[in-house]
């Protein structure tokens, strides 16, 4: 990962941020959905939005959660109520960049690519885009106070089941 010019990020901080991004992707790729809300603050904002809406300032999101509780509710819904064809989603995260630090925390961006594999089908690129994050420290842990996942395409292939 890199920091924007003029930002003083110690090697230790860079390492901790890289670990956060890696652990987040790892929890999802390992199917440990229940761990996903633990990466966020209690009053977090998590949104998955098409670039089209993001650039026009339109608020509708594919997923819109205003608290860790809503993240937990989504996990419960995926586990208990949703019908979906079995699949796996692999998260590739790169170009993590620290863009700013202020009283509200650290502002970061990173690129993501989600590869989807359905039963009896070749793997395919499912979505790609950019995380736009605000990271804070809580109880000695780095976590996301805000994670906006802006995906580049306008079209989602069939359904998004698991978190980005």
């Amino acid at each position: 990962m890199i920091a924007a010019p003029g930002l003083d990020a110690s090697p230790a901080l860079r390492m901790r941020l890289a670990d956060l991004y890696c652990a987040y992707a790892d929890a999802l790729d390992e199917g440990e959905l229940e761990r996903w809300p633990e990466f966020f603050t209690a009053n977090c904002l998590y949104r998955v939005v098409p670039r089209e809406n993001f650039e026009q300032g339109m608020p509708i999101a594919l997923i819109y959660c205003e608290s860790r509780g809503m993240l937990i509710d989504r996990v419960t819904a995926i586990r208990e109520t949703a019908l979906y064809v079995p699949r796996m989603l692999r998260h590739l995260v790169s170009n993590i960049r620290l863009r700013g630090v202020d009283a509200d925390g650290m502002r970061l961006t990173a690129s993501f690519a989600l590869l989807q594999t359905m039963v009896d089908r070749p793997s395919e690129l499912f979505l790609c885009g950019q995380y736009r994050d605000r990271v804070v420290e809580e109880g000695g842990q780095l976590c996301f106070a805000e994670r906006i996942c802006v995906y580049d395409s306008t079209i989602v292939p069939t359904s998004l089941v698991f978190p980005v």
């Binding site: 098409p50 509708i60 959660c65 608290s67 109520t81 949703a82 019908l83 064809v85």
Partner: protein
């Protein structure tokens, strides 16, 4: 005899316009042959008879074309169009094909222009689609140029018939399509005007997904209240839509349009929920703000899902409002384009409620996710045997309005009309 362009061949009849390619298995519409979802020739015939025929096709909301020169691209069946507001404020819908060499002249999804210029040879059109400029039309230094009898007025963009009602834009490739109010009929118009009541609309955003199934399965899904109580565990659990609730299914006289109407119930176990494997009485939300519906329309109904032939679903589920446009790609794929909206006079709380409840809808919707996955499964099964028949006989074989949800009557209504238009 050679034709005017010097070709030795006379123009041939299009195949899609002539004899039906398939034979429907019986006189009714309760058994649906699988080939209606797979046959490419039938798909071509649908494009001609339904999408390019006497239908009002949903294009966009007027709010998306706020000022003169504002345009938005859309796809109506297989044809790309551009909806645009002209200098006088009227909305036109133009086929996105230059009259010169058929290049798509507009590639931005939306924007603001003073005129349309095809990037290939810079043929220029006004906002009404009239051709106003052809570079080197008179040639250069006495050489080249268009023939003397070439008239700009004869080479405008293809333009569709347009009708707007309460902020919603529809277009038709036919000039013989009946007036919109007659096209909907009194009952359907009443439900349409319930959501589109003349108040100014505000677009809240777009979601779009590509579903690997035939486009008609999307209509069938929304015309089928039977599945909703069984498939949608989330809706059922929170009493947002359930078979034991006060409900009805109504159609226009032709059967091509329909509404599903339902009133919210409670999260409580009873005789009906015991038949729904889906029902989970012990599921409580950590953050109840996700479901905090407020009554905002007159009457008891809390859900009204309207299907308008041939490409629109109007969604009112609690406080989440959207148009869902069906865009067929080929026999086995379609795009579903969601436009979420509210009203200009919404309070900030209502606006927030609409955003939260949108979690139930769209390609990651806690409810509609089930539908896109079910359609994927349907098409996968259908592809295995094109001669097999689907059975749509819940509630009998007739087509009539029903005051309950244990019926597939609106699917039968849809196919009764489909057979007529397709001459199948």
């Amino acid at each position: 005899m050679p034709s005017a362009d010097g070709s030795p061949f006379a123009p041939s009849e299009t195949r899609a316009g002539t004899a039906p390619v398939r034979q429907w298995p019986d006189a009714g519409s309760s058994r649906i042959p699988n080939w209606v979802y797979t046959d490419p020739e039938l798909f071509a015939r649908e494009q001609q008879r339904i999408f390019a025929g006497e239908s009002w096709l949903y294009v966009c909301l007027e709010a998306e074309l706020a000022q003169p020169g504002a345009f938005k691209r859309a796809r109506l069946g297989a044809k790309e169009v551009v909806a645009v507001r002209d200098a006088a404020g009227a909305i036109g819908v133009l086929v996105n094909r230059c009259a010169h060499r058929s290049a798509q002249f507009c590639s931005a999804a939306r924007g603001l222009v003073q005129e349309f210029v095809c990037p290939y040879h810079q043929w220029t059109y006004d906002l009404g689609g009239k051709l106003i400029g052809v570079p080197f039309r008179r040639g250069f230094r006495g050489q080249g140029g268009m023939p003397e009898d070439f008239h700009l007025g004869e080479h405008g963009l293809e333009s569709l018939a347009v009708t707007c009602r309460h902020g919603v834009v529809f277009a038709s490739f036919s000039n013989a399509t009946e007036p919109f109010a007659d096209y909907l009929g009194g009952t359907m118009l009443g439900y349409f005007d319930r959501v589109f009541d003349g108040r100014e609309l505000v677009v809240l955003g777009y979601l779009r997904q590509r579903i690997p199934s035939n486009w008609k399965l999307m209509f069938e899904n929304i015309k089928d209240p039977y599945h909703a109580s069984l498939l949608h565990v989330f809706l059922v659990t929170f009493g947002l839509f359930r078979l034991d609730q006060q409900s009805s299914i109504e159609m226009d006289p032709t059967g091509r349009h329909a509404v599903l109407v339902s009133s919210k119930g409670e999260q409580r176990e009873n005789d009906a929920t015991r038949q729904m494997r889906a029902f989970k009485s012990n599921f409580a939300l950590n953050d109840p703000r996700l479901l905090d519906p407020v009554r905002e329309f007159p009457g008891a109904a809390t859900v009204v899902m309207q299907t308008l032939w041939p490409n629109l679903i109007v969604q009112q589920q609690s406080n989440t409002l959207a148009t869902r446009q069906i865009v067929p790609i080929d026999a086995g794929r379609f795009d579903l384009a969601w436009t979420f909206f509210g009203y200009a006079d919404d309070t900030p709380e209502m606006r927030q409620r609409r955003l939260r409840q949108a979690n139930l809808m769209g390609p990651a919707g806690l409810v509609s996710l089930d539908d896109s996955e079910a359609m994927l499964l349907s098409q996968a099964g259908i592809g295995g045997d094109e001669e097999a028949l689907c059975v749509a006989e819940m509630g009998g074989r007739a087509v009539r309005d029903e005051p309950h949800m244990v019926t597939e009557t609106a699917i039968r209504g849809f196919y009764r009309y489909y057979r007529r238009v397709m001459e199948l």
